[in-house]
Protein backbone atom coordinates (compact mmCIF):
# COMPACT_ATOMS: atom_id res chain seq x y z
CA UNK A 1 0.00 0.00 0.00
CA UNK A 2 1.44 3.33 -1.00
CA UNK A 3 -0.80 5.62 1.01
CA UNK A 4 -1.60 5.46 4.67
CA UNK A 5 -4.18 7.61 6.38
CA UNK A 6 -4.28 9.28 9.72
CA UNK A 7 -7.09 7.17 11.04
CA UNK A 8 -7.27 7.03 14.82
CA UNK A 9 -5.06 4.06 15.58
CA UNK A 10 -5.41 3.74 19.33
CA UNK A 11 -8.44 3.31 21.54
CA UNK A 12 -7.58 6.62 23.20
CA UNK A 13 -7.64 8.38 19.84
CA UNK A 14 -10.97 6.84 19.04
CA UNK A 15 -12.54 7.84 22.33
CA UNK A 16 -11.10 11.34 22.14
CA UNK A 17 -12.33 11.78 18.59
CA UNK A 18 -15.74 10.51 19.46
CA UNK A 19 -16.10 12.69 22.50
CA UNK A 20 -14.73 15.92 21.10
CA UNK A 21 -17.47 18.40 20.35
CA UNK A 22 -16.77 19.01 16.71
CA UNK A 23 -16.94 15.33 15.91
CA UNK A 24 -20.11 14.93 17.90
CA UNK A 25 -21.69 17.75 15.92
CA UNK A 26 -20.39 16.29 12.72
CA UNK A 27 -21.97 12.92 13.44
CA UNK A 28 -25.28 14.50 14.29
CA UNK A 29 -25.43 16.53 11.11
CA UNK A 30 -24.35 13.67 8.91
CA UNK A 31 -27.16 11.51 10.27
CA UNK A 32 -29.58 14.27 9.28
CA UNK A 33 -28.31 15.29 5.87
CA UNK A 34 -28.07 18.07 4.87
CA UNK A 35 -27.10 20.27 7.79
CA UNK A 36 -29.51 23.19 8.05
CA UNK A 37 -29.43 26.72 9.40
CA UNK A 38 -32.35 29.15 9.53
CA UNK A 39 -31.97 32.87 10.15
CA UNK A 40 -35.01 35.08 10.46
CA UNK A 41 -34.97 38.68 9.26
CA UNK A 42 -37.68 41.31 9.31
CA UNK A 43 -39.16 40.44 5.92
CA UNK A 44 -37.74 37.02 5.14
CA UNK A 45 -36.02 33.95 6.49
CA UNK A 46 -32.90 32.49 4.95
CA UNK A 47 -32.35 28.75 5.06
CA UNK A 48 -28.85 27.46 4.46
CA UNK A 49 -27.95 23.85 3.73
CA UNK A 50 -24.56 22.19 3.27
CA UNK A 51 -24.69 20.21 0.04
CA UNK A 52 -21.19 19.45 -1.24
CA UNK A 53 -20.85 17.61 -4.53
CA UNK A 54 -24.44 18.20 -5.55
CA UNK A 55 -25.41 19.81 -8.82
CA UNK A 56 -28.30 22.19 -9.26
CA UNK A 57 -30.16 19.80 -11.53
CA UNK A 58 -30.01 17.00 -8.95
CA UNK A 59 -31.65 19.09 -6.24
CA UNK A 60 -35.34 19.63 -5.53
CA UNK A 61 -36.87 22.20 -3.20
CA UNK A 62 -40.57 22.05 -2.36
CA UNK A 63 -42.80 24.08 -0.08
CA UNK A 64 -46.06 22.45 0.92
CA UNK A 65 -48.47 22.78 3.84
CA UNK A 66 -46.05 24.84 5.90
CA UNK A 67 -43.09 22.52 5.36
CA UNK A 68 -39.94 23.04 3.33
CA UNK A 69 -38.37 19.92 1.86
CA UNK A 70 -34.91 19.68 0.32
CA UNK A 71 -34.32 16.43 -1.50
CA UNK A 72 -32.05 15.13 -4.19
CA UNK A 73 -29.24 12.89 -5.11
CA UNK A 74 -25.49 13.13 -4.98
CA UNK A 75 -24.42 11.50 -8.21
CA UNK A 76 -21.20 9.50 -8.01
CA UNK A 77 -18.27 11.16 -9.75
CA UNK A 78 -16.61 9.43 -12.67
CA UNK A 79 -13.83 7.09 -11.76
CA UNK A 80 -11.63 5.21 -14.25
CA UNK A 81 -12.40 1.52 -14.61
CA UNK A 82 -9.06 0.28 -13.41
CA UNK A 83 -9.04 2.52 -10.32
CA UNK A 84 -8.63 1.11 -6.84
CA UNK A 85 -10.71 2.72 -4.09
CA UNK A 86 -8.62 3.31 -0.98
CA UNK A 87 -11.05 5.34 1.11
CA UNK A 88 -14.74 5.94 0.63
CA UNK A 89 -16.48 8.21 3.12
CA UNK A 90 -18.72 10.09 0.67
CA UNK A 91 -21.61 7.73 1.14
CA UNK A 92 -24.64 9.98 1.16
CA UNK A 93 -26.40 9.38 -2.13
CA UNK A 94 -30.10 10.15 -1.86
CA UNK A 95 -31.28 12.59 0.76
CA UNK A 96 -34.52 14.13 1.89
CA UNK A 97 -35.00 16.49 4.80
CA UNK A 98 -37.93 18.67 5.82
CA UNK A 99 -38.26 21.67 8.06
CA UNK A 100 -41.38 23.29 9.40
CA UNK A 101 -41.55 26.84 8.05
CA UNK A 102 -41.17 29.44 10.80
CA UNK A 103 -43.89 31.64 9.31
CA UNK A 104 -46.21 31.94 6.32
CA UNK A 105 -44.29 32.51 3.11
CA UNK A 106 -44.98 34.09 -0.24
CA UNK A 107 -44.58 30.83 -2.12
CA UNK A 108 -44.30 32.53 -5.51
CA UNK A 109 -41.31 34.62 -4.50
CA UNK A 110 -39.08 31.95 -2.99
CA UNK A 111 -35.62 32.03 -4.51
CA UNK A 112 -32.59 29.82 -4.07
CA UNK A 113 -28.93 29.77 -5.03
CA UNK A 114 -26.29 27.07 -4.82
CA UNK A 115 -22.66 28.08 -4.50
CA UNK A 116 -19.58 26.17 -3.37
CA UNK A 117 -21.72 23.46 -1.85
CA UNK A 118 -23.95 25.81 0.14
CA UNK A 119 -27.62 26.18 -0.73
CA UNK A 120 -29.37 29.40 0.29
CA UNK A 121 -33.14 29.61 0.16
CA UNK A 122 -34.84 32.97 0.63
CA UNK A 123 -38.33 32.64 2.09
CA UNK A 124 -40.11 36.00 1.94
CA UNK A 125 -42.69 36.45 4.68
CA UNK A 126 -46.32 36.75 3.63
CA UNK A 127 -47.89 40.10 4.36
CA UNK A 128 -49.62 38.74 7.45
CA UNK A 129 -46.36 37.40 8.86
CA UNK A 130 -44.45 40.68 8.51
CA UNK A 131 -44.11 42.89 11.53
CA UNK A 132 -46.28 45.98 11.43
CA UNK A 133 -46.46 49.00 13.59
CA UNK A 134 -49.94 50.21 14.27
CA UNK A 135 -50.36 53.89 14.39
CA UNK A 136 -52.59 55.18 17.18
CA UNK A 137 -55.04 57.71 15.92
Amino acid sequence: MLVRFNFPNTIDDLVENFLSRENLDYRMTSSAFPAFDIAEYENESVVMAELPGIKKEDLKITVENGWLTVSGERKPYEIPQNARVLLNEMRVREFNRSLELPHEVEANNISAELENGILRIHLPKSQTARPRTIEIK
Partner: protein, 132 residues
Protein backbone atom coordinates in the same frame (compact mmCIF):
# COMPACT_ATOMS: atom_id res chain seq x y z
CA UNK B 1 1.58 27.97 9.05
CA UNK B 2 4.70 26.63 10.88
CA UNK B 3 3.48 26.57 14.44
CA UNK B 4 -0.09 25.64 13.69
CA UNK B 5 1.11 22.82 11.54
CA UNK B 6 3.19 21.39 14.35
CA UNK B 7 0.33 21.72 16.78
CA UNK B 8 -1.85 19.82 14.40
CA UNK B 9 0.70 17.05 14.06
CA UNK B 10 0.94 16.41 17.77
CA UNK B 11 -2.79 16.67 18.30
CA UNK B 12 -3.89 14.23 15.61
CA UNK B 13 -7.34 15.77 15.66
CA UNK B 14 -7.88 15.53 19.40
CA UNK B 15 -7.17 17.82 22.29
CA UNK B 16 -5.47 15.11 24.32
CA UNK B 17 -1.91 16.30 23.80
CA UNK B 18 -2.54 20.02 23.90
CA UNK B 19 -0.91 22.00 26.61
CA UNK B 20 -3.31 24.44 28.27
CA UNK B 21 -1.09 27.40 27.40
CA UNK B 22 -1.57 26.86 23.68
CA UNK B 23 -4.40 28.71 22.00
CA UNK B 24 -7.32 26.41 21.44
CA UNK B 25 -7.92 25.73 17.80
CA UNK B 26 -10.37 23.03 16.92
CA UNK B 27 -10.68 21.42 13.56
CA UNK B 28 -13.45 19.68 11.73
CA UNK B 29 -12.34 16.62 9.77
CA UNK B 30 -13.75 16.84 6.27
CA UNK B 31 -15.19 13.73 4.63
CA UNK B 32 -12.77 12.26 2.09
CA UNK B 33 -12.55 9.77 -0.76
CA UNK B 34 -9.27 8.46 -2.12
CA UNK B 35 -8.64 6.29 -5.14
CA UNK B 36 -5.65 5.16 -7.11
CA UNK B 37 -5.35 4.91 -10.85
CA UNK B 38 -2.39 3.71 -12.89
CA UNK B 39 -1.27 7.34 -13.22
CA UNK B 40 -2.06 9.02 -9.92
CA UNK B 41 -3.65 9.12 -6.50
CA UNK B 42 -6.83 11.18 -6.33
CA UNK B 43 -7.96 12.70 -3.02
CA UNK B 44 -11.42 14.26 -2.75
CA UNK B 45 -12.57 16.32 0.22
CA UNK B 46 -15.97 17.80 1.03
CA UNK B 47 -15.44 21.47 1.90
CA UNK B 48 -18.90 23.05 1.71
CA UNK B 49 -18.85 26.83 2.01
CA UNK B 50 -15.14 27.15 1.33
CA UNK B 51 -13.80 29.85 -0.95
CA UNK B 52 -11.19 28.66 -3.42
CA UNK B 53 -8.64 31.18 -2.12
CA UNK B 54 -9.00 30.10 1.50
CA UNK B 55 -7.97 26.50 0.87
CA UNK B 56 -4.44 25.75 1.89
CA UNK B 57 -2.90 22.61 0.41
CA UNK B 58 0.51 21.67 1.62
CA UNK B 59 2.74 18.84 0.43
CA UNK B 60 5.77 18.40 2.60
CA UNK B 61 8.06 15.39 2.47
CA UNK B 62 5.61 12.53 2.88
CA UNK B 63 2.65 14.49 4.17
CA UNK B 64 -0.30 16.06 2.39
CA UNK B 65 -2.32 18.45 4.50
CA UNK B 66 -5.39 20.49 3.68
CA UNK B 67 -6.56 23.33 5.86
CA UNK B 68 -9.43 25.67 5.18
CA UNK B 69 -11.26 28.19 7.30
CA UNK B 70 -14.92 28.65 6.44
CA UNK B 71 -16.49 31.83 7.69
CA UNK B 72 -20.25 31.86 8.00
CA UNK B 73 -21.33 35.27 6.82
CA UNK B 74 -24.76 36.57 7.74
CA UNK B 75 -26.00 39.98 6.73
CA UNK B 76 -27.22 42.05 9.62
CA UNK B 77 -28.26 40.48 12.89
CA UNK B 78 -31.00 37.96 12.25
CA UNK B 79 -32.75 35.83 14.81
CA UNK B 80 -31.22 32.38 14.61
CA UNK B 81 -34.00 29.79 14.53
CA UNK B 82 -32.01 26.68 13.72
CA UNK B 83 -28.27 26.31 13.68
CA UNK B 84 -26.35 23.30 12.50
CA UNK B 85 -23.88 25.20 10.32
CA UNK B 86 -21.05 27.08 12.00
CA UNK B 87 -17.87 28.87 11.06
CA UNK B 88 -15.13 26.29 11.24
CA UNK B 89 -11.70 25.25 10.15
CA UNK B 90 -11.41 22.06 8.17
CA UNK B 91 -8.18 20.16 8.56
CA UNK B 92 -7.03 16.79 7.36
CA UNK B 93 -3.75 15.22 6.55
CA UNK B 94 -2.61 12.15 4.72
CA UNK B 95 0.65 10.30 4.86
CA UNK B 96 2.03 9.71 1.39
CA UNK B 97 4.15 6.82 0.33
CA UNK B 98 7.13 7.08 -1.97
CA UNK B 99 6.74 7.47 -5.68
CA UNK B 100 4.62 10.59 -5.86
CA UNK B 101 5.72 13.45 -8.03
CA UNK B 102 5.11 16.31 -5.58
CA UNK B 103 5.86 19.01 -8.11
CA UNK B 104 3.06 17.89 -10.38
CA UNK B 105 0.36 17.91 -7.70
CA UNK B 106 -2.74 19.61 -9.00
CA UNK B 107 -6.04 20.64 -7.45
CA UNK B 108 -9.48 21.84 -8.44
CA UNK B 109 -12.50 23.01 -6.49
CA UNK B 110 -16.05 22.54 -7.67
CA UNK B 111 -19.48 22.41 -5.96
CA UNK B 112 -17.76 22.50 -2.56
CA UNK B 113 -15.58 19.48 -3.32
CA UNK B 114 -11.79 19.74 -3.50
CA UNK B 115 -10.02 17.30 -5.80
CA UNK B 116 -6.27 16.84 -5.43
CA UNK B 117 -4.33 14.85 -8.02
CA UNK B 118 -1.00 13.41 -6.93
CA UNK B 119 0.69 11.97 -10.03
CA UNK B 120 2.88 8.94 -9.59
CA UNK B 121 6.48 9.34 -10.55
CA UNK B 122 7.58 7.50 -13.69
CA UNK B 123 9.24 4.68 -11.78
CA UNK B 124 6.03 3.89 -9.87
CA UNK B 125 3.62 3.69 -12.77
CA UNK B 126 2.20 0.29 -13.55
CA UNK B 127 3.66 -1.09 -16.73
CA UNK B 128 2.92 -4.16 -18.70
CA UNK B 129 6.06 -6.00 -19.63
CA UNK B 130 5.81 -7.68 -23.00
CA UNK B 131 7.33 -11.13 -23.20
CA UNK B 132 9.70 -11.40 -26.07
Amino acid sequence: MGKNHQVALTRKGSTALMRPTEPAESFVTPIADVYETSEAFIVKLDLPGAAKDSININVEENRLSVKCAVQLVREGTPKLLFGEIRSKTYYREFVLGEGIDHYKTGASFDTGVLTITLPKSESMKAREIPIK
